[in-house]
Amino acid sequence: MKLRFTSIALLASSMMLAFSASAASSDQGIVVYNAQHENLVKSWVDGFTKDTGIKVTLRNGGDSELGNQLVQEGNASPADVFLTENSPAMVLVDNAKLFAPLNASTLAQVEPQYRPEHGRWTGIAARSTVFVYNPAKLSEAQLPKSLLDLAKPEWKGRWAASPSGADFQAIVSALLELKGEEATREWLKAMKTNFTAYKGNSTVMKTVNAGQIDSGVIYHYYPFVDGAKTGENSKNVKLHYFKHQDPGAFVSTSGAGVLASSKHPQQAQEFVQWITGKQGQEILRTHNAFEYAVGVGAASNSKLVPLNDLEAPKVEPSKLNSKKVVELMTEAGLL
């Protein structure tokens, strides 16, 4: 009995060691903590690996989840690169002093308003907040003039959002930056009464499309992405851009940064350089991702409303505070 158990125990522990070893043995290539949409990043990774031969392992998750995880992991994190959909998570990680400065050549490729001065991270794509609605339920005249209108009592039960997602939390962080804590707190309280929660912007769009709710606050690219597939979740929706520097016209920057603790700093820098370079930004235009390109001289997909026409409010991406947003949302009972 003893002999047999010992031998089995040895077998089991060697299996376990093999497992942990296998995780670490992906030593060639880089680990990217990715919060961006998978299909977009996949196209980037495929192109990058084809060009340079460097393998990329993705860990997928949400902005804040991965951001907080990086903060918790600290210097021992296995991550080399962090990609996000919005900027607050980049700020979070940067405040924990975890990013390494990016190569000057990388920074030179991105338009200045889409990257912070300090150069420890950069924008890689952008998306605009948008009001999606079902024209059968809302006429043009009834459309809200500002994001703040949605707090008014007449909008009770008529709009939806995905508060647990980092996307919406980024929009709230812009609101916080533009209008201050008190106004944001009030707006969130009214939101709790008026809105319906869904999980994910796609679900919001689908529900508006089905006519189950009048409208929603999401990002611009969802209807376009769906339209490029079967279109069954976006046939009946229309987009309304708030413009006029309203908080609802907020353009969120997706970010990329290289971790200071990275074991492959050079390959990591190469990756960020590639996606902000011509080929990476070209993918934004051609690959049905429908997000805005932020490279110098890069054109976005022709179907989209040009960035300059959006009249987005000026928000310094490095000032967005996700921690405070989560606090306020928890206080309002949204989380």
Binding site: M1, L3, M16, A23, A76, P78, Y198, K199, G200, T207
Partner: protein, 528 residues
């Protein structure tokens, strides 16, 4: 999934066996059992530790707020409406299939547990595809009932099958009409089975994430998840986990206390006579067919039809998905290695509790059971924090994931292994030795052979559980690991139902043989 098989130790004469063993069990065996049980207490310790760390003020603000009250209310309502409905349906269906001459009752008894092959979140996915507007408490209760009623059906039908008809005869001879006999004599004997099944369902209701997330019904687990996505493992997430743990412990206490002192098994020697099934008149028989037909259609029919529809729409293209087959491979690897490792780890505890019954070992065993009652998300949260802060080398490796599975699923292996070892009393080994075998040979030819089916059943249950596990895997999977469940979840989050269908189908197919195992196992044991 379920601890249905056998929940109580086989009845051993406590004093005599212990006295018969003058020698003590091997030291390393005791040590490993103690270590594993202490390990099992990690999540509990974690929750308490974090609460202490965060400070009473913050705990107060995070726990005593309207949102938590909202979640508590939702959870309470869910449990209050789901449990009685499941009990009613489970008992009614069990009665029809075990004690009447219902047409096709053997087929119905198999179909009654078919929903166990469909993971709860796939059930939800199927219904959302059919009725997109489904949401809230009503939808939550409905889907929970059809997904979980087999947990009551299985033990109740096992007990009904073995009830002593002599007792019912006596009750009849004492002047009680058949209906009175059912309520005063038969139903009380089902109490333990119903109670055990209800506890299991309640714990699942508390722990389930995917089902409720898809229909937008907020429970503690969905809220913890949301917090996790926003703050990774900030204090709010841990506090919610703490409240959830309290609810689970509360359920365990309530169930244990309400068992009462009465015995529920047959009293007296001799074996039970075989039962006489009640005949049903053709009209009533037809009416009674409605119950199994409806339940099967809702619980098995809808998922299979929806899956078929999505697969048809997707055509062959979805099967060409470059992520699908790696996910299958990884799921199978994880499940297989998990099953083997966890069953092996259960050996010391099972061996000790059968061969050397003593209070200490019962307490150790109890630790394992308590932890397995905790939701996967609590275990995962605990492990994430502990490994990040104290055990870096295994952070984000398969080992942590397997550790989580160990904490969550060991009791399944433990229970079955214990039943298996109990089949092989030590006398058999002694007889083998008297017939000329060495102690090791005797062990192999008797105990291991007899215990093997029990061990296999335990391993199979663990395999099944790991294949369908979503929550802990979402939190703990190493970089690049994608199981069928997490892949399915990622796709449905993007509303890509068509691409998600192959994942769901494979998960169901993997679960079918093991569901069959559960069925045949319940036919052999009383399930009490």
């Amino acid at each position: 999934m379920s601890n249905i098989s056998i929940n109580a130790a086989p009845v051993l004469p406590s004093g005599s066996v212990a006295r018969r063993y003058q020698q003590r069990p091997g030291l390393w065996m005791v040590v490993s059992a103690v270590l594993l049980s202490l390990l099992a207490l990690l999540p509990l310790g974690f929750v308490i530790g974090v609460a202490i760390d965060t400070g009473w003020q913050t705990v107060k603000t995070l726990v005593f707020r309207p949102r938590v009250g909202e979640l508590l209310l939702n959870t309470l309502l869910l449990v209050i409406f789901t449990l009685p409905t499941c009990a009613l349906l489970g008992v009614a269906l069990a009665w029809l299939t075990e004690r009447t001459r219902l047409q096709g009752r053997r087929i119905w008894s198999i179909l009654a547990i078919a929903p166990l092959a469909v993971p709860a979140f796939v059930q939800s996915y199927a219904w959302i595809s059919l009725v997109p507007g489904m949401h809230g408490l009503g939808a939550g209760v409905f889907i929970s009932v059809i997904a979980y009623f087999p947990f009551i059906y299985l033990p109740v039908s096992a007990v009904l099958r073995r009830l002593d008809p002599g007792i019912e005869d006596v009750a009849t001879s004492l002047g009680k009409r058949p209906l009175a006999v059912f309520f005063r004599v038969i139903l009380p004997q089902l109490k333990l089975a119903i109670w055990g099944g209800s506890l299991l369902i309640a714990l699942h209701l508390l722990a389930e994430y995917g089902l409720y997330a898809m229909i937008r019904f907020d429970t503690f687990t969905t809220a913890i998840f949301d917090q996790f996505q926003s703050t990774f493992n900030g204090p709010a997430a841990n506090m919610l986990a703490g409240v959830l743990v309290l609810c689970c412990l509360g359920l365990l206490v309530v169930e244990a206390a309400s068992r009462g002192r009465a015995r529920y098994a047959r009293v007296g020697s001799g074996s039970a006579r075989s039962q006489n099934p009640y005949p049903l008149s053709p009209a009533i028989g037809l009416l009674c067919q409605l119950l199994p037909i409806t339940l099967t259609a809702l619980a098995s029919g809808v998922p299979f039809i929806t899956l078929a529809r999505w697969l048809y729409l997707g055509g062959f293209a979805v099967w060409d998905n470059s992520d699908l087959w790696p996910a299958v491979r990884q799921t199978l690897t994880l499940a297989a290695s998990g099953a083997v490792i966890i069953t092996l780890c259960a050996i010391p505890m099972a061996w000790l509790s059968v061969r050397y019954p003593a209070r200490l070992y019962r307490v150790l065993e109890g630790c394992n059971y308590v932890t397995s009652s905790l939701p996967g998300i609590v275990v995962a949260l605990a492990l994430v924090t502990i490994t990040i802060h104290s055990f870096r080398p295994i952070y984000q490796t398969e080992m942590t994931l397997l550790l989580a599975y160990l904490l969550m699923f060991m009791p399944r292996a433990l229970i079955n292994l214990r039943a298996g070892i109990a089949q092989a009393p030590v006398e058999l080994e002694n007889v083998a030795r008297s017939l000329g075998r060495t102690p090791f040979q005797a062990l192999c030819s008797t105990t291991l052979r007899l215990a093997a089916p029990g061990a296999a059943a335990g391993a199979a249950l663990v395999f099944l559980a790991i294949t369908n596990e979503l929550t802990a895997t979402l939190l703990l999977a190493p970089n690049g690991t994608r199981t069928l469940a997490t892949g399915f979840w990622a796709l449905t989050s993007e509303i890509d139902y068509v691409a998600a269908a192959p994942y769901a189908l494979i998960m169901v197919l993997l679960s079918l043989p093991l569901t069959w195992l559960l069925y045949s196992q319940s036919k052999r044991t009383a399930g009490l």
